[in-house]
């Protein structure tokens, strides 16, 4: 659910250290960060290694490994989190095909869902 609303339109930005965009949890509620099992990003087909992904919300930045033991913070319902890819040089100006997938551990489900959105986002020159 909400698959096609995960990537926030027009939110792509870049710097020397990498690129970032705003992402939302594809779910009808929020989740404690320890239940976010993985966030996978690709830019123009190139996958960003897990250790180079950062999750930033309300002034706090986490690695994915750190998030696994965060029990006092959440990714709230509909909340736009900054999803950061550490990639020296960032991305050049122009259109970029961004893929964003989230794997979450949902207590009542008999499986571990991964939900993905793909959008082409523009970077101004």
């Amino acid at each position: 659910m909400m698959d096609n609303k995960m990537i926030v339109e027009g939110s792509l930005e870049t710097s020397d250290k990498g690129f970032a965009f705003y992402g939302r949890l594809p779910y009808y509620r929020g989740l404690g960060l320890s239940m976010i099992e993985d966030i996978q990003i690709t830019a123009d087909g190139e996958a960003i290694p897990r250790e180079d992904v950062r999750f930033h919300v309300r002034g706090k930045t986490y690695t994915l490994d750190q998030m696994e033991t965060v029990y006092d913070d959440r990714w709230n319902f509909g909340e736009k989190a900054k999803i950061i890819a550490m990639k020296p040089g960032g991305l050049p100006a122009g259109d970029h095909k961004i893929e964003f997938a989230v794997r979450m551990r949902v207590s009542y489900l008999p499986f571990v869902p991964t939900t993905k959105d793909t959008k082409v986002l523009a970077l101004a020159a």
Binding site: M1, M2, D3, N4, K5, R24, Y28, R29, G30, L31, G32, S34, M35, E37, E68, Y71, D72, D73, R74, N76, F77, G78, E79, R105, V106, S107, Y108
Partner: protein
């Protein structure tokens, strides 16, 4: 007392997720439909719940909106994330403590009920029941497809509730378990993602004929079905046309109803769930609580169009008002 109408704000998730409706918009919309019972999923409506907590100012705002629109808090649906820790289940005592936190949160919101997901063990709810009694809250386990009132897991809950002697434990049936026809919006979605027409037609017909899900899955495989076609056949494992009258044995413990629906047509019909029969059974059983609209068609159509959750809920409320014998002229105005 007559059966009352309400709405679970889950119904408006597509709009609230995108910030197109505020909490006030949701409550006002329900009040305008004469559906004054308000049910929420705590951690959908209130950012921060449960891990971070919710400020008193937020709770005060909730109460002022409820008062402003003359509504009634019905249920806080809680989740209990017993898989919070990777690789190990939350210990029993911590699960009970977590339920107590939700009881307290429900009480702060003025709720009569809190909803427990069906996967929670009965022992956890029984252990939390005395605190619920103290706070004037009932804990209702949601009986939701594929489970149903004759399933051993539900019977285990019922037995544990009786043995506990507590009247703070009960049931919240989700009407999706009475899925009497394959929902048209499901079929359309499966066609969009590539299920061949002949296979989709076969599955719809097999569902109408009440064919056992495992036979349908095998037949779809033999018809050459792969991927989404198997996925469509497998929905029959998780859904069935159980009988509304099975609720009658449990009436003394049924205190809230999820008016699940996938689609309301322009002439006020849910094509897959027999609400006429459901309301007749509830009346027969002397039910006097709320039926809260729970629109779940959103996720079946959002790939093709923006859901209009308000119009969908409005249509269901018109249907319910009619079935309940209420005059409902104000509902017929355009949303």
């Amino acid at each position: 007392m007559p059966i009352k109408r309400g709405v679970s704000l889950y119904s408006f998730q597509n709009e609230t997720f995108q910030g197109k409706m505020t909490l006030e918009d949701c409550i006002r919309t329900c009040a305008e439909m004469g559906a004054n019972g308000i049910e929420i999923i705590g951690e959908q409506t209130f950012w921060g719940w449960p891990e971070v907590g919710v400020d008193d100012a937020e709770i005060a705002n909730w109460h002022s909106l409820i008062a402003k629109y003359d509504c009634v808090p019905v249920s806080h649906d809680f989740m209990l994330d017993y898989k919070r820790y990777k690789g190990r289940e939350m210990p029993f005592a911590e699960q009970v403590a977590s339920v107590k936190k939700d009881i307290e949160f429900g009480a702060r919101l003025g709720m009569k009920f809190i909803r427990a997901l069906v996967s929670i063990a009965p022992e956890v709810l029984v252990a939390a029941a005395p605190y619920a009694e103290e706070k004037g809250i009932k804990i209702l386990i949601e009986v939701h497809a594929p489970l149903h009132f004759d399933h051993p897991w539900i019977i285990r809950h019922a037995e544990a509730f009786e043995k506990s002697g507590s009247d703070a434990l009960g049931f919240l049936p989700d009407m999706g378990m009475f899925l009497h026809a394959f929902p048209p919006v499901w079929k359309e979605k499966f066609l969009r993602i590539g299920v061949p027409q002949n296979i989709a037609d076969y599955i719809e017909k097999a569902y109408a004929d009440r064919v056992l899900s495992e036979y349908v899955i095998l037949n779809v495989q033999q018809m050459g079905g792969v991927g989404p076609a198997i996925g469509m056949a497998e929905t029959l494992r998780h859904n069935a046309a159980f009988e509304p009258k099975r609720m009658l044995d449990y009436m003394p413990r049924i205190h809230n109803i999820h008016g699940k629906f996938y689609e309301m047509t322009a002439d006020y019909v849910e094509p897959s769930i027999p609400y006429d029969e459901i309301v007749a059974v509830l009346k027969q059983g002397g039910y006097d609580g709320y039926i809260c609209s729970e629109y779940e068609g959103n996720r079946w159509i959002e790939d093709a169009m923006e859901p209009d959750s308000v119009e969908q809920v409005r249509r269901q409320q018109v249907m319910l008002a009619t079935l309940l014998g209420e005059p409902a002229p104000q509902l017929r105005a355009a949303a």
